[in-house]
Amino acid sequence: MSLPHWDVVVIGGGPAGMAAASEARAEGAERVLVIERNTEAGGILPQCVHNGFGLRVFGSDLTGPEYASRWLRRAEMAQVEFMLQSMVLEINADRRVLVSGAGKLHELSAGALVLATGCRERPRGALNIAGSRPAGILTAGTAQRLVNIEGYMPGKRYVILGSGDIGMIMARRLTLAGAQVLAMAEVLPYVSGLRRNLVQCVHDFDIPLHTSTTVTRTIGRERLEAVELCAVDQHWQPLCETARTIACDTLLLSVGLLPEIELARMAHVGLDPLTGGARVDESLQTSVPGVFAAGNMVHVYDLVDAVTESALRAGRQAARYVLGNRLTTAVTPQTIELGVNIHHVVPQVLHLTPELDELVIELRVRSPIEQPVRVEFLADGERVVSQRLRYARPSEMIVLTLKPDEIACLQRAEHLSVNCRPWES
């Protein structure tokens, strides 16, 4: 029995999925399908009712829903098909897809697959907080969904653990809704989200921010009644003598996002322990031929514009794969080595074919440098590109774009690597 077939199937209808699908059509793929488990496309964006989206891609400051609807329109214009309220349960390396939705359970096949499943929030279990397990402890993203989509209020008096972007945005959102945000605790000595959010969401609303501090205990049997805050030493070990309790009814966790890789694992896609996401090459192809990855499931981005830009490349390359216009398999892949102060790079590997005409390297640094820095890409120790930045922070992704003549310099190199260090004057 032959399965219903699409040229390109995109799993996940967030900004990454919509961009990849639109671009796959533009590149010539005939039938392109987006499968999305929610009732609407847009991914995380419908719940991000604040602005700050699209400055780079559209040159205007949009809200999440606005940004999403622009891409939805583009995808519809490009005649991308959507299958909503449909969860992909399984995929395999032969690009068969099992989908479940109300009243249905069916299989289909794809010429190329793009995984655009986004990310999920790190739960409490990963944190090792002692105490009870009452109602009133939830991730910041779940709270955001409850408040912005369902119109519910999860509590009145909040403590937020972690200074990720969602946590900071929720601090402002909850304050505006009339709730009290009593404290925001961050175990690192610095805030982990964007500076912009620190200013606009935390400082402007006088939210008490405690860095080098963590929650060590939750108190309350049925509903949360209080949490215990503790300062930590440089090894993140709580300093017991600093413990104090804060009465509150809700603890929001904003302690990190993890790429959603369950499906990728099923297809035996190679993963990068540093990003937690799929390992990809310069065309966003994973270790499994014909399976591409885009957006937050590759690595967690801070800005949606960068998600869109990389997803466009993934969609383009997926279409080329289906149309037989790809030659990368002929060359042996080269790994990009992590040099000074680099946490991770995407892509992790490169196929340096002579045809390669676009190369974008995304990276994050390991520790912040609050002075001008040089970010450089080296081939056998020779600087191929270098960029000067005013500072480097783990919260802000850095992008290096290589022009064709620079790519040519990489061709016969044995070692490729990236560094980020203070600018030598």
Binding site: M87, L105, P123, G131, P134, T142, I149, M153, G178, E222
Partner: protein, 483 residues
Amino acid sequence: MNATYDVVIIGAGAVGSLIARELARYQLSILLIDKNSDVGEGTTKANTAIVHAGYDAKPGSAKARLNVAGNRMFEILCGELDIEFDRCGTLVAAMDADDLRTLEALRERGIANGVPGLEILDAAATLAHAPALNPAVRGALWAPTGGLVDPFQMALGAAENAVMNGVELALETLVTGFERQCKRLQGVVTDRGTFYTRWVIIAAGLWADDLMRKAGLTGFNIRPRKGEYYVLDRRTAEVMRSVLFPCPTPVSKGIMVTRTIHDNVLLGPNAVHVDDKNDLDVTAEGVDEVWQGALKLVPGLDRRDVIRSFAGLRASGSTDDFVISIPDEPQGLVVLAGIESPGLTAAPAIALQVCEMLREAGLRLDEKPGFNPLRRAVPRLAQLSLAERRVLIEQDPRYGHIVCRCEGVSEGQVAAACHGPIPARTYDGLKRRTRLGSGRCQGAFDLPLVIDIMARELGISPLEFTAKGGASRYLVNPEEAGG
């Protein structure tokens, strides 16, 4: 005063529920009471969930006899009640020469207790059974009759089957005392009124001693001993499929590393005396002890795989053995106390013994013609074939709508759990019936969906939906948020 019931059972844990189900075979009017918002919410929900082979307890003790007898009953019991059970065998690992001697002693004790098939394996055979085990292992005791079970389903399956067969269930009902007439108990006093009965069975776990005192029986005390655990992601169970005990110490069976029936990995428990019977807090020192202990057995564990921690309380009694008795006074009372490990394993045999004791004490047990021993759990979608799933979806399209991504639970299962013989009324009740929210995201994805589905199925406002009854609401009135 005319008795309304023949038997009132206090406590709907594994023990009380299995007794209720056993007595439901006879022409009796029975009431099963629990103070919690669901059955099985006491010790039954939070333990290691091993069906012990029976080599631990002292030969001749009630623990030893009922462990081995109970163990033999699991295939039939779990088959009839649709409870997940896996007789996968268990290992006790020896790390040094002392441990090897302990294994020999355990084997001899097991033989004395009537445990079949015990075998001492050398290091190579042990590692063949359990490749993840510390390679320094010297040998192990292999107990092929040991297994894994879903402990909550033991209580739920038994209680649902009891309810199907006419037993009444009163949840959120706290027993506060007894009414006596001369030497005989005649009423169970609760915060919802007094229930008159010919027999009272105390199956109240940690609180058995308090209730015994209220019935006039002194001299027996329970001192809770806490056991803390880590739950690891399913990923770990792909490589760690065994049930591994360390060699026991005089006070505890030690910190083990075991797969669970749901294919997670469980580490624990430690053993710490506490005073408060409600103290289920996890402590930093406790889980640290658990982690260190587990590493001794399986050095390759990865902390990033931890998805949850929890604690359970052992109902350790002042006698070393189970107390299962009909005291001379007051009359009309059966006491079950100190039912600590291997209480889960022994529970089916305890239930049979209680029936026999009641019969001997003069309660007429006439079989009920229409008794139906079969009960079905909420369908376990993730375990069905595609064809079976399609059949379900045809019956109810909601079986296609997945609401819990990690465990693959559908809206259809949520609805089924809300309309079973004992309906789920809380998030925890739903979680224990369907596994929803117990995977690696711990409910972050499903909660917003489930609040609405549950409110609809239960006919309540979303604001009234709770995690575990009482004040454990998820939402506040938005108008009050600023208050």
